[in-house]
Each structure stands twice: as C-alpha cells, then as structure tokens.
Amino acid sequence: MSARRAAILGTGQTHHRTKRTDVSMPGLIREAIDRAMADAHVEWRDIDAVVIGKAPDLFEGVMMPELFLADALGAVGKPLLRVHTAGSVGGSTSIVAATQVMAGVHRRVLAVAFEKQSESNAMWGLSIAPPFSMPVGAGAGGYFAPHVRAYIQRSGAPEHIGAMVAVKDRRNGALNPYAHLRQPDITLESVQASQMLWDPIRYDETCPSSDGACAMVIGDEEAAAAVDGTVAWIHATAMRTEPTTFAGRDQVNPQAGKDAAAALWRAAGIDDPLREVDAAEIYVPFSWFEPMWLENLGFARDTPGWKLTEAGATERSGELPVNPSGGVLCSNPIGASGMLRFAEAAKQVMGRAGDYQIDGARKALGHAYGGGSQYFAMWLVGADKPE
C-alpha cells in the first residue's frame, strides 16, 4: 500500500443534551469545530478541506444541510464533501477525511459530524413506509430487540449482562464532562427495575436521543510534526457493507462486521486484538450490543462475548476497557456518534481523556455501525507512528 501516514491532531465535541435550544445548527457544529481547532493548534488558513457527515436529512428537516452550513464550516472557497452511511456515518466521515490525507491530496482536513435531532422527530424520520420496503415502525429498539433475543438464545447469556453494560457505561459517562447522561449512582438493581421497552431491552439499557457534534483535525506527517503535543496515528481503517435482508443473513453476527474487523487487524498487524488493543470505543446503542460486538470484532474468540463482560474485562480497570467515555449509551447524536467513538479512541492514545483516561493506552479502536447492522466503519489509532 502506497498510502502516506495520517494522524489526528486534535478533537472537539459539544456538550450533548436532549435539546440544545441555545444554539442553531451552525452554532452547534462550531462549538465542536472551535474546540477541535484549538486542540490541534491550527487556524482556518491551515485547513485545506472539510468533510462532513450526518445521518438522515429527515432528522433535521433540511435537504443536504452541508450546503447552508458551508459558511459556518469555514468551507467557502474550499472543498466540502458530505458523507452519509447511516449510523456508521461518523466513522465513515473520519475515514474519508483521513483518506484525503493518506492520498497525499491534502495536508490538513477538518472532519465534522453532527445531529440536531430536536429540530425534527427521529421516530418519524425512521418510520416512513415506502412501497416494497419492510416497515419498522417501532424505532431502532424494536428493530434490534429480536437480534438481542437471538444472541441471548444462541450464546446462553444470563439476563443481567445487558444491565451490567449499562451500569458500566453510565458510570463511565459520569466522568465525561461532555456526556449527555451522567449517572454515577446507577446500579444493577435500578437498571433491572427500569421499564421494559422492547423485551429484553429495558429503558436504562437504551441510548438517549441527543443534539451534538464532533470534530477532528487530521493531518499528514509534516502537519503532525508541527503540532506541539501528542497526536494519534492512524494505523488502519476499514469499512464494509452488506444488504439489510436476505435469506441466511446472520443479523446477530453480521459478516460485514467480521470482514471489516479482519481487514482492520490485518492492516494494523494485530494478531490478538484482546491482548494488543488497550481501549475500545465500540458503538453500543443498546447495552446488549457490547457482548455481541466483542464477538463480531474478534475480541472474544474462544469464549462468548458476554463472558468478557461478566468477568469485568470491559471495565475501565479490565483487560479491554470498552467505552471509557460512556459511549453511545450516554450520548447519541446519531450522525456524530460514530465520530465520537473515533475521536474518543484518539483521545485515549493522545493521553487527553481526562478523568476517564486509561493509563498507558497506546492502541485504541474506534468503531461504528449503522442501518440494520449492515454498515460498518472502524479504525485503529496508536500513540506510536505505524511501521
């Protein structure tokens, strides 16, 4: 591969809330961009191109909002590319931005992702029933609950695993000043006492609906050398897609996710991800997806994923800390959620994760998925320059 090296020079994100009525869409994205630019110590003149991602336009009711956001993005006169790959879009956007640097086309690219869900109604946006398409009509939870049930049946997981993940992520989120839900006092009992929404998924095991944005500045080797401070080197990226439905599709452990992970580990020279990766930001919008994705990503090779969760391996003090930032279970601005995972992985290896820093994190995974679990995007970042 002839690709050049690329690194994350700085990251920024907004405070996430159910409704950010204090800012417009331009105000929201600028909150994240300004923090990322300050973190990367760059000015507007240093930015060569902008890549923006968000999930469906119907969520805000604006067709191709990047057009009206061009001024707020500082993109006037520059290249501006809009990516849209469903819930994985924040991850895909990061990868597309990184690729522009790796191709040698740009020196510094600003990557931005956002969702201002309060401008519209996500349930409505996802419940349109076009002809000849399978209607969902129950939101994402209704769609994914059967996958979770199938996972439990297949793996023999005890029913408290989902609640354990919720407790862990919400307590982690309490250490993250930007998190939407911060619940230091949450307990296994309180999660298990919360309302059942889509059996077996309880209210406290679901992600919130958030307004929020995330931004990153990605640069080439020269740009990274000019930064006064640490950077996060991109060791590998991977994206894979498969159709939503067809006979024989494994929706619990999708092939596209397995293929993407295999390609990622191969490109990054990782033989044993559980041993070699120090922290993982995994897209877990419903708590049960932690053990499911541990299997899909290849972290749990010899045991079911739930055994890693049950043994505490995914706690901040565990063998593989998963979602030390609190993850999607604490903040879910859908279009930005994937980029938040990618940026949080970068923060860990840059040593800039504050109260939720994993000591000695040198390699971290950022992961996102979307659609009906058939769009996957992931990257591995490291404190050290890749070979």
Binding site: D57, G61, L67, G77, L80, H84, P131, T244, G372
Partner: protein, 347 residues
C-alpha cells in the same frame, strides 16, 4: 502519486417518470449489468464502491441502503456514499485509488425526481432558519439569477436561447436524452425570463462509472480517460452575499484541476444561463465543443446528472473524438458547489 482513469460508463435513459421505486434498484440493475458487460469486469473485481443520492428526493431516510440490493452485496463490499451528486462519489473513489487501498472502483448515482415536486423539494436546501420558510423554489431562484445577468448586460435572452437550441439539437443523437429537437417559437415562460427550454427537464435516471488505476486501465481499454486533475469547491450559502452572475468556486476548482487546452467540455448547467456563467468561469474559448451529448437541458436526473457529465466526457476520450476533455458537476442552489475534472488520453 499514481493515476486513476475512467474505463467504463453506463446510464439509463432520462425519463419524466419511471415505474420503479425511489431506491433506484430497478434503474440500477440494467445499468450495472451494462457496465460489467462493457468492461468485462465482474462484481468481484471491484475493490471500492461509492454512490450518490438523496434521501429527500426519495422521501425517506436511508434511501441508499436499499439501493445496495442492486449490487447483490454479499460477500460484503467496501462501500461509501455521498449525499450529493455522484460526481462527488467519483472524487471519493479517485482518492481511494490514489491511496493504493483500491485498484478498481465502481461509482453509481440515481434519482427519482418524479416522486415529489422537485422545485419545492429543492427549496429545503436553503437556510432552514431564514430562507427556506419563505419557500423560494429552485426555478424562481434561477429566474432571479438569469434576470441579474440580463439587467447587468452579462448576457441576453438570445444568448440563453442559443444554449438551449444547441443542446436540444445535439441531443437528437443521444439515445438517453429525454428531449431533443428544435426550439419552438411559442415555448411557455415558466418563470420570467426563463422559457421552458431554458430549464432542464425533470428526470428520473441512474448512471454508473468504473475507475481503475492507469496501469489496469490500459489492460481494459485502448484509450482510458486518465484523470489528470479533479477538484471541487463551494461558495457561500448566503445568496445575497455572492455575485450570482459569477461562479468563483468553479474558477478555483478549474485552476486546481489544471483546466487548460480543453477540446470538449460537458457542463452541468440545469439552466441555460448557468452554462454562460460556467463558460466564463472556466475560461472556455469558442473553439471548445460544449455538451455534445445535449447536456442537462436534454435530461437531468438529480444526483446522477454530474456523474453523467463525467461519463459523457470520458466517452469522448475512449472513442478517440478528443484527447483532453473537461467535465463539470454542480450541487446546491444556483451553482453553489462545483466540481471540475480534467481527463486525457495520455498522462
């Protein structure tokens, strides 16, 4: 840096309305079959896929997900999507080939404008807080732009009609064109000063294009269209803050793409006067043959129209009609965002 080249292109007919669904599958399946037959490649040869489309045109969230069914994407594929004309998907694929991660990429775009009321749908591209609530529709905005040019002396109604006449005459030899022939004397005024012939028809359609490395391209086709430069830029969204009779983003993109010594140019101007703006911004001389396919005034499937310009221009290199061509694509209201690609027979 290695080069990428266009080695194949296929498109559906542009039609006022298809019977197919908004996800484009029915339009895309024959187009994909054609491009594989044309190049001798198969699905397994494609390292990277990228598409362009719009959820708003389809009237649903995630319209591109169902479009993947047209590929038969199992085993899984390495794939991405731009919520924009697929010309920008070409840009993303071009980047992917430059990195060395992919040697062959397939780009497709589709749009079923007939699913809604296009001029109203496009109003939703405007600033949602201050402009879109007034519902200025796309054709009325273009009429204001045309009027600014007329009153400032930049062009005349005859100049505009000449663009339309040339386009529709050229379209008679294009089997994919939606309309062609001679201008009629009594063409209705749609939005003063725009007559029906000044406005691209509302089209449903789809297109696909294959890019490979220059090396691979030479094994597949005698005269690959090597991309010698491609760039895209955006102008301000504030309509009152820019000169609507000019296109600075096109000018910047053309300079970055190295747009000089062009023989044939395919320009994505959905309104006749916009071709005049583009010709000036691109500094095209009268010797440059513009839109021999008939251009967007003969058929303009949303989200594939820019991709079709790239494909039509590339075909002129493939056929030997030209050695150096330019393709332009636009997105957003009143030429807000513009892409310029320069392709040539030899690098």
């Amino acid at each position: 840096m290695r080069n990428a080249a266009v080695v194949g292109f296929a498109q559906s007919p542009s039609v006022r309305s298809t019977q197919g669904t908004t996800n484009g599958v029915e339009m895309l399946v024959p187009v994909l079959s054609e491009i594989f037959a044309q190049t001798g490649l198969t699905k397994a040869d494609i390292d990277f896929w990228c598409s362009g489309s719009s959820d708003y045109l389809a009237g649903r969230a995630f319209s591109f997900i169902a479009a993947v069914d047209a590929i038969g994407a199992f085993p899984p594929i390495n794939e991405s999507h731009v919520e924009c004309d697929a010309a920008w998907a070409v840009y993303e694929a071009w980047i992917k080939i430059l990195t060395g991660e992919a040697d062959t990429a397939l780009v497709y775009g589709f749009g079923k404008s007939s699913a809604g009321e296009l001029r109203r749908v496009l109003s939703l591209q405007l600033d949602p807080y201050t402009v879109a609530p007034l519902w200025p529709d796309s054709i009325s905005l273009a009429a204001m732009q045309a009027r600014l040019g007329l009153e400032s002396g930049r062009w005349t109604e005859d100049d505009m009609a000449a663009v339309a006449a040339r386009s529709l005459a050229d379209a008679t030899s294009n089997p994919h064109a939606q309309r062609s022939g001679a201008l009629t004397d009594n063409a209705p005024l749609i939005a003063d000063p725009l007559h029906s012939y000044d406005v691209a028809p509302i089209s449903d359609g789809a297109a696909a294009l294959i890019l490979t490395t220059e090396e691979r391209a030479r094994d597949l086709i005698e005269r690959p269209a090597i991309i010698s430069g491609i760039d895209h830029r955006i102008d301000s969204a504030v309509l009152g803050a820019r000169d609507l009779t000019d296109s600075p983003s096109t000018r910047t993109a053309a300079a970055a793409a190295g747009a000089r010594d062009i023989e044939i140019a395919e320009l994505h101007a959905p309104f006749s006067h916009q071709e005049l703006i583009l010709r000036e911004a691109l500094e095209l001389s009268d010797a440059v043959r513009i839109n021999p396919s008939g251009g967007p005034l003969a058929g303009n499937p949303m989200f594939a129209g820019g991709l079709i310009r790239i494909g039509e221009a590339a075909k002129r290199v493939h056929s030997g009609d030209a050695s150096r061509v330019l393709a332009h694509a636009t997105s957003g209201p009143l030429l807000q965002q513009n892409l310029v690609a320069v392709m040539e027979a030899q690098s």
